[in-house]
């Protein structure tokens, strides 16, 4: 159905920044709004929620119009769920009170939808926390309650504003599996604001990249994370993400071989079954280049590749985009110094070998 889309058009100039977006997003699955701080991703999310207004704009969600010109539906009439960066639970209510706050209002005096409540509680694993007050919960637990609170409303659109940003690594690891479950089990569209490439790669189907209030690119995850013209690729931790399958294990060397579109890679043995799908991440700074196939080297992963593009970075650095694999089109990124580029005499189209010093399994 053509109306199963989210159409959002906002043009507005704020004192310190201007927003100019015209988006047509899929009406299901997880769409990540990705960008650096100040890129306008949170503003966009708040406009969609109606927490902020522009005098002009258009917003329709799966056929329902939420804003048209200056006429808009107030936030509390929009069938959405919103998860803030910090949990924003009501301090005077228990976890249960928080969950039921919105449900009562959706039910409007009729009986609450207990099944939806129980499902949200089970999905986020918070059954044992219901009687606690927010201050008795850890940061990760608070965020899980906040997500359940939004889900229990059975919203038609779920908006999440960097729900993991305020948490430390351990708490993130605690919540990510629940978010992946949401991705797998939810029918409704989710807009997920993030500045972490890892989170985006792990959770999203579609990515919208924002910079200074404008949409720089929109597309599928794997494709966008390596596009050279995007600022992300120049970042310190720029990486290529590879979609792979476990081929087999080599018990003698405790190695696992993984087939990827770029070629077969060896990793220190991982506990995954052959045939299982995995995501690998290769950081640009972990790639070095050689013109001839290195004979003896301690590096186990060496792939033939072709230089697709060269892009100067700050000072003496270059970003090289390589194409690897059968059709020499699977993108890889390398950061190298200008000095080595000159020594190797790199030009576009040149064929060479990429030595991969480290491959990380994305968990």
């Amino acid at each position: 159905m053509p109306s199963q889309r989210i159409i959002a058009r906002f043009h507005h100039t704020y004192p310190d920044f201007s927003l100019d977006v015209d988006l047509d997003l899929p009406g299901r699955g997880v769409t990540a709004l990705f960008g650096h701080s100040g890129s306008g991703k949170t503003t966009l999310l708040r406009l969609i929620a109606g927490l902020q207004h522009t005098p002009q704009g258009f917003l329709s969600v799966n056929g329902e119009i939420w804003q048209e010109g200056a006429r808009l539906l107030p936030t509390h009439r929009r069938p959405l769920g919103y998860v803030f960066q910090e949990a924003s639970l009501f301090a005077h209510l228990s976890a249960r009170g928080n969950l039921e706050y919105g449900m009562r209002r959706v039910a409007r005096g009729k009986a609450m939808d207990r099944a939806a409540l129980d499902q949200a509680i089970a999905l986020l694993g918070i059954g044992h926390l219901l009687e606690r007050r927010p201050h008795q919960l850890s940061g990760g637990e608070r965020q899980r309650v906040a997500i359940a609170r939004a889900l229990a409303l059975q919203p038609r659109l779920l908006l999440m504003d960097e729900p993991l940003a305020a948490l430390d690594l351990a708490r993130k690891q605690e919540i990510l599996p629940y978010l992946e479950r949401l991705h797998d089990e939810l029918e409704i569209p989710v807009l997920y604001v993030s500045h972490s490439p890892d989170e985006v790669a792990r959770l999203a189907d579609t990515v919208v990249m924002l910079e200074r209030g404008r949409v720089m690119a929109q597309g599928a995850v794997g494709e966008l994370l390596t596009r050279l013209d995007l600022r992300l690729a120049r970042a310190h931790d720029a990486s290529a993400i590879l979609d792979g399958r476990v081929r087999d294990h080599d018990p003698r060397y405790r190695l696992t071989r993984i087939d990827t579109p770029a070629g077969t890679l060896r990793l220190a043995q991982i506990e995954r079954a052959p045939g299982e799908r995995v995501w690998l991440r290769i950081q640009a700074r972990d790639l070095s280049l050689a013109l001839d196939e290195p004979g003896t080297s301690s590096i186990v992963n060496i792939l033939p590749a072709r230089v697709l593009a060269l892009e100067p970075l700050e000072e003496a650095q270059l970003l090289v985009k390589l194409g690897a694999g059968a059709d020499q089109a699977t993108p890889l990124l390398a950061h190298i110094t200008r000095y080595s580029a000159d020594r190797l005499g790199l030009v576009e189209g040149q064929e060479l070998f990429a030595q991969i010093k480290a491959v990380a399994l994305m968990e």
């Binding site: 940003a165 430390d168 351990a170 993130k172």
Partner: protein
């Protein structure tokens, strides 16, 4: 070599801290411990912001505190840099003035301030007041201010706790670089194991006012020394042993075999969560309480017959018992480590490897 050595006895009505340690003049030492264990107090004692009841603190030849010799150098005379949890930047001074505060007036100061501003990428912000800075910028100013007077020892009190996780990583790297560039040593108090794992050369663990373990990071992480320290370092399964039968440890929870009998009859065994597998013929009897999907693996919360919880990591590829199932867990001997419940506290002497 400017070794820091400290013997400290400090008391408050509800708290006592006793520490005896020696640290080398380079690298980062992370001090971990539960809240209230006295890690911040230790830092403040070293800085001279609190006064020990007895003991002696010295850095190389310089005696900072000595009860016996009646020496108590004020913080201003200790050649330290201190970074506070909330930075304590001076709100009425600009970025440049904050960084230059600890330096003597003169042309030299201007030059040094300019160097630090460039090094920490604060160019363009020189005239800003702290309240016009972002969290990460404030943190860099605080770091520059503490390092500008070239302290011999940098003390950091939970410096990463007030910024969000994305900034934390880059600041850890920055701290490592600065410590090695400036040829100083640093003590980093933190409650986040990740800080210690990622940027410390050494780890110290404090519990209830005592430094219970101090050593090279890898060494401490692999061998906590006793069960309490193991828990601070995030080891999940520590089981009390009631009886030893050769290389077999027994308790109300069952029995497990070690790869060889421990030299002494330790009171606790720790089970590493990654090796044991459910669905065995024999082994520990458990009930599966919860299964959490963690991506690459599943985290199993189990209960042993005496209700002690046991946490296991099971690769996704392996069959997983259902919640509520009763099964047996095969525990490979190399996954069992015997530990004393509480090791006696020794003098925590750091010594470089030969």
């Amino acid at each position: 070599m400017q070794t820091l050595s400290a013997r400290i006895d400090f008391t408050r009505p509800d708290f006592r801290l006793r520490a005896h340690l020696r640290l080398p003049d380079s690298g980062i030492t992370a001090v971990l411990g539960p809240s209230g264990s006295g890690k911040s107090t230790l830092l403040r004692l070293l800085a001279g912001l609190e006064r020990p009841r007895a003991g002696c603190i010295r850095l190389g030849e310089h005696i900072w505190f000595s009860r016996a010799q009646a020496i108590d150098r004020p913080p201003s005379a200790r050649a330290i840099g201190f970074m506070f949890q909330h930075y304590a930047l001076f709100p009425h001074l600009s970025v440049a003035e904050n960084i230059g505060y600890g330096l003597a007036r003169g042309r030299e100061r201007q030059r040094r301030v300019a160097e630090w501003i460039e090094r920490l990428e604060l160019a363009g912000l020189e005239r800003r007041r702290p309240d016009a800075l972002s969290g990460g910028q404030r943190q860099r100013v605080a770091l520059a201010r503490a390092l500008a007077p070239r302290p011999r020892l940098l003390l950091l009190d939970e410096p990463f706790s007030a910024v969000d996780a994305s900034l934390r990583q880059s600041l850890r790297l920055l701290l490592q670089e600065l410590v090695s560039e400036n040829d100083t040593s640093a003590i980093l108090v933190t409650h986040d194991l990740e800080d210690a794992r990622q940027c410390a050369d050494r780890i110290g663990v404090m519990i209830a006012g005592r430094v219970r373990r101090l050593g090279e990071s890898a060494e401490v992480l692999a061998d906590p020394g006793d069960a309490e320290v193991a828990r601070v370092l995030g080891w999940p399964n520590t089981l009390p042993v009631t009886q030893w039968a050769g290389d077999e440890a027994c308790g109300t929870w069952g029995r497990v075999r070690l790869s060889r009998a421990p030299a002494r009859a330790h009171e606790v065994v720790a089970l590493l969560p990654d090796g044991p597998r459910p669905g065995a013929r024999e082994g520990l009897e458990v009930e599966i309480a919860q299964v959490i999907e963690m991506g690459a693996y599943r985290a199993l919360s189990c209960r042993l017959p005496d209700r002690t919880p046991l946490r296991l990591h099971l690769p996704r590829a392996l069959p997983c018992p259902a919640r509520g199932a009763r099964t047996r867990i095969a525990v490979p001997p190399e996954c069992v480590i015997a530990l004393p419940a509480r090791a006696s506290v020794r003098f925590n002497h750091w010594s470089p490897h030969p």
